[in-house]
C-alpha cells in the first residue's frame, strides 16, 4: 500500500470524523453543551502534521457548498456570520499546530504545538467576530467584550481538549497493534 493513497483515505475519514464528531454534545450543568469540534480539529495536525489542516479545510468547503454541517446549517451565506471566523481559524490553527508538531515524541512540545494552534483559532475567530459585528451587522462590540464573551468562557475547555488529544494520540499505537 502506498503512503499517498493511505494518507488520502485517512484524510477523508478524518474529515468525516470531524463532521460526525461535531454532532456529539456533552450536556453540561448550566445549559451550554460542550461540543468536541476543536478536539477533532486538533486531531488532524497531531496525526498528519501540516497536512492535518486538510480535514478542517474540506469541512469548510463542504459547509460553504451548502451541506448542513455547520452549527446552524451551511451555505455560502455563512461567510457573513460572525462566527465564521472560528471555522477559518480551524484551518489556520490546524496548519500552525501541524507545522509546529514535533516529529519525535515529546509531550511538552506536542501540547505546546496544539496550544499555539488553539491560540490562532481564537485570534482569527475573535478578529472576524469583531470586524463582522462592527462593520457588517452594525452592532458595535469592543475587543474586550469579544474576549470576555467569545473567548474566555471556552478557553479552559479547549486547553483540556488539546491535552486530551495529546494523551489519546499517544495511546493509539498501543491499541492499534493489539487489534
Amino acid at each position: 500500500m502506498k503512503k499517498k493513497t493511505y494518507d488520502l483515505a485517512l484524510t477523508g475519514v478524518l474529515t468525516a470524523l470531524l463532521m460526525a464528531g461535531s454532532f456529539v454534545r456533552i450536556p453540561l450543568p448550566g445549559g451550554v453543551p460542550l461540543t468536541l469540534q476543536l478536539f477533532f480539529v486538533l486531531l488532524g495536525p497531531a496525526l498528519l502534521g501540516v497536512r492535518g489542516m486538510l480535514p478542517s479545510l474540506l469541512y469548510l468547503l463542504l459547509g460553504l457548498a451548502g451541506l448542513p454541517v455547520f452549527s446552524g446549517g451551511g451555505g455560502p451565506g455563512y461567510l457573513f456570520s460572525p462566527t465564521f471566523g472560528y471555522l477559518l481559524g480551524f484551518v489556520a490553527g490546524s496548519w500552525l499546530a501541524g507545522y509546529l508538531y514535533p516529529k519525535s515524541p515529546s509531550f511538552g512540545r506536542e501540547l505546546g504545538a496544539l496550544l499555539c494552534g488553539v491560540a490562532l483559532v481564537y485570534g482569527v475567530g475573535g478578529l472576524w467576530f469583531y470586524v463582522m459585528k462592527n462593520v457588517y451587522l452594525a452592532a458595535p462590540v469592543s475587543l474586550s467584550q469579544v474576549f470576555l464573551f467569545g473567548i474566555l468562557p471556552f478557553l479552559p475547555g479547549d486547553i483540556l481538549k488539546a491535552l486530551a488529544v495529546t494523551l489519546i494520540v499517544r495511546k493509539i499505537p498501543a491499541y492499534y497493534k493489539k487489534g
Binding site: M1, K2, A9, G12, P55, G75, Y175
Partner: protein
C-alpha cells in the same frame, strides 16, 4: 438519551423536477448569482422581487415549503435578532417610542437578507445530491491546478468524507451504547469525569478510523488507483438546453434587480 442530534446529510430529496435535473454547476452559479444580487442591491423592492423569484424556483423544484421551513429554523433566532436590533437602535425619524422609520426599514431589510440567503442555499442542497455537488466543486476548483493544487485528490477526499459520515455516526452511537450498557452514565459528574468517560468511546473510534482508512486504501490500490488525474467518472456532468435557459433567467433577474435598485428604490426611499 440522544447524543447525536437529528443530523441528516440526506437533506437531498430525490425528485424528478426541472430544478433537480439541472446541472449542479448551473445551480452553483445560480446560487452565487442570487447571493451577489442580494449584496449588491440592498433594497426592499429588490428583495421582494428576489423572494417572488425564489418561490417560483421552489415551485419548479416540486419541493414543499415545509422543507424550507425546517432549514430556516436554526437561523430563525438570527433573523429575529437582527430585525429587533435594527428596529430599536437605528437613529432617525421617530414613528413611535424608539422605533424609527429607518429602523423599521433596516430591520426588515436585514431579516429578509438572511431569509433569502438561507432560502437560496436550501434550494441548492435539497435538489442536488452531495456527490453531484462535489463534482461541481471539483469543476470550479480546476483553475487551481495551475497552482499545483491536487484538485482531483481533494474531490476524492470530499467524496470519502461524505461516504463515511453516516458510518462514523453509527459507530459513535454503538460505542456510546456499549459503554452505557456497562453502566457508564455520561450525564453525571464534573467536567473531568465526563471527559474521562469519553476515552473508552474515542480510542476505539480512532482505531477503527485507521483501520477503515487502511482497508479503503488497499481496496483502491487493488483496483489500480494511481492518483486522481487518470480517474474517470461514472456519471459525467452535462450542460444542456435547460441549463442555458436557467443562465438566461439569472442574467435577466440580475438586470431587473439593478433596474429596481437604481431606478425605483430612491424614489420610494425603500
Amino acid at each position: 438519551m440522544k447524543f447525536l442530534g437529528g443530523f441528516t446529510i440526506g437533506q437531498y430529496i430525490p425528485l424528478d423536477s426541472a430544478v433537480h435535473n439541472l446541472d449542479p454547476r448551473t445551480k452553483f452559479i445560480g446560487l452565487t448569482g442570487v447571493m451577489a444580487y442580494i449584496f449588491l442591491f440592498p433594497s426592499l423592492v429588490v428583495y421582494l422581487f428576489l423572494m417572488v423569484s425564489l418561490h417560483l424556483v421552489l415551485m419548479f423544484s416540486s419541493l414543499r415549503y415545509r422543507y424550507i421551513w425546517r432549514g430556516l429554523r436554526p437561523v430563525l433566532f438570527l433573523i429575529l435578532f437582527s430585525a429587533f436590533f435594527n428596529l430599536f437602535f437605528t437613529p432617525g425619524e421617530t414613528l413611535w417610542w424608539k422605533i424609527t422609520k429607518e429602523g423599521l426599514y433596516f430591520g426588515l431589510l436585514y431579516a429578509m437578507r438572511i431569509y433569502l440567503l438561507v432560502f437560496s442555499s436550501i434550494i441548492l442542497t435539497f435538489t442536488t445530491s452531495p456527490i453531484r455537488l462535489t463534482d461541481a466543486m471539483e469543476y470550479f476548483m480546476k483553475p487551481l491546478k495551475i497552482l499545483k493544487v491536487p484538485v482531483e485528490d481533494i474531490a476524492l477526499m470530499l467524496v470519502i468524507a461524505l461516504r463515511f459520515i453516516p458510518t462514523l455516526l453509527e459507530e459513535i452511537d454503538r460505542l456510546i451504547k456499549a459503554q452505557m450498557s456497562r453502566g457508564v452514565d455520561f450525564d453525571r459528574g464534573n467536567l473531568f469525569k465526563r471527559i474521562k468517560r469519553l476515552l473508552p468511546v474515542f480510542v476505539p473510534l480512532f482505531v477503527s478510523c485507521f483501520k477503515r482508512a487502511e482497508e479503503l486504501a488497499d481496496a483502491m490500490e487493488s483496483r489500480c488507483y494511481r492518483g486522481g488525474e487518470l480517474r474517470t467518472k461514472r456519471e459525467k456532468l452535462s450542460y444542456r438546453a435547460a441549463d442555458r435557459l436557467a443562465m438566461v433567467f439569472l442574467i435577466i433577474a440580475g438586470i431587473l434587480c439593478a433596474y429596481l435598485f437604481y431606478a425605483l428604490s430612491p424614489a420610494l426611499f425603500i
